[in-house]
Symmetry: C2
Subunit: 204 residues, 2 copies
């Protein structure tokens, strides 16, 4: 599939879907783009633009068909290969696995990787946990390209090369460390400290 949607649109489509899925128990639900925007705290102009990119149009009086929206979002976003691994199965890692499962998202973590002998080769949070040395074999066999990184910050420089050698090219970084990766590798940083400093700055 051609990757033609802008990055911000993709992130918003994911939010739309989770909200819209709450409507599907209704009989033929419809929604206006400005209501979608309001409920998610987004700008109406962005929402309208995203829906235009999906190629669907709404009814002037009723708004958009929720079922048509969900179908279009699924067509646009659902890649064949959605396998994710988690690296660093400490308390943060375990809480992320269970959070993701409880969120009802379509994404599931296939396996975890750690160095703790108590965890390696055992089930952990309902998923298998392997030694970090096995990541390469696992990723090749399962064509895994996405990893959630939750190791201690001081281990980041040792672990990132292992991810890259394993063919991982998308990383959701929960560590406070900055990842040095070559161009073409997608990194999203969950930087708790920056977010908090920003909130504190503006709510004084």
């Amino acid at each position: 599939m051609a990757k033609k949607l802008p990055r911000n649109t993709v992130a918003r489509l994911s939010q739309y879907r989770r909200l819209l899925e709450k409507y599907i128990f209704m009989d033929e639900p419809f929604i206006f783009s400005h209501d979608l925007a309001r409920m998610l705290g987004l700008k109406p102009v962005n929402v309208r633009h995203d829906l235009m990119l999906l190629g669907i149009s709404g009814d002037r009086r009723k708004g958009y068909s929720v079922n048509a929206l969900l179908e279009a979002i699924g067509d646009a976003m659902d890649m064949e290969n959605r396998g994710v691994v988690l690296v660093g199965m400490g308390r943060l890692g375990m809480s992320l696995v269970s959070y993701l499962r409880e969120s009802g998202a379509r994404i599931q973590v296939d396996a975890a990787f750690d160095v703790d002998p108590m965890k390696v080769n055992n089930m952990c949070e309902g998923i298998p946990c392997y030694s970090i040395g096995e990541l390469g074999d696992f990723a090749r066999k399962n064509q895994t390209r996405t990893a959630i990184l939750a190791v201690p910050a001081e281990d980041v420089n040792d672990v990132v090369p292992i991810l890259l050698r394993a063919g991982i090219n998308g990383i959701l970084n929960y560590t406070s460390g900055h990842l040095n990766v070559p161009e073409g590798i997608i990194v999203r940083n969950i930087d708790m400290v920056s977010y908090l400093e920003e909130i504190i700055y503006f709510n004084e």
Copy 2:
């Protein structure tokens, strides 16, 4: 203090500081803005603009003084009231408290709030944990305005009004729920599912 820095600048200043603090063991360290940009994966033009907003200028040959940068960032960002509470001391909440402590950030969580009788009125992860019903008194006494929200998604609608009544006006939302808050309340959402869907979309 006048709040005049743009939101993206504030988030980046927080990142600069954590990187620059690694340099202070050196004797009179200097850094070029393009090196700062490269190390953090940012655009050089944004970094230059941020430093300009701080009102400091670099030396053409040596770059910026790291000590002067750190002082300017501290002057610009460090608010008097940096107290933060965490609401929802489950596994995710506990891992966030310990993550923040280990990150060496200037922000610390003063107290946690939960409903679990095993946790309430005990120390948890090194901080006191109180009943959620005590949040209002605590926040007023300590002038707390910022909360990290890590309750189960189904409790969000019950908990947010308690935060607002307690005078919290900045929320870092780790739940998958959307927060309905009045204008003027700052919410930053850590939406793991959107981030992952975005990564998967672009790294297929």
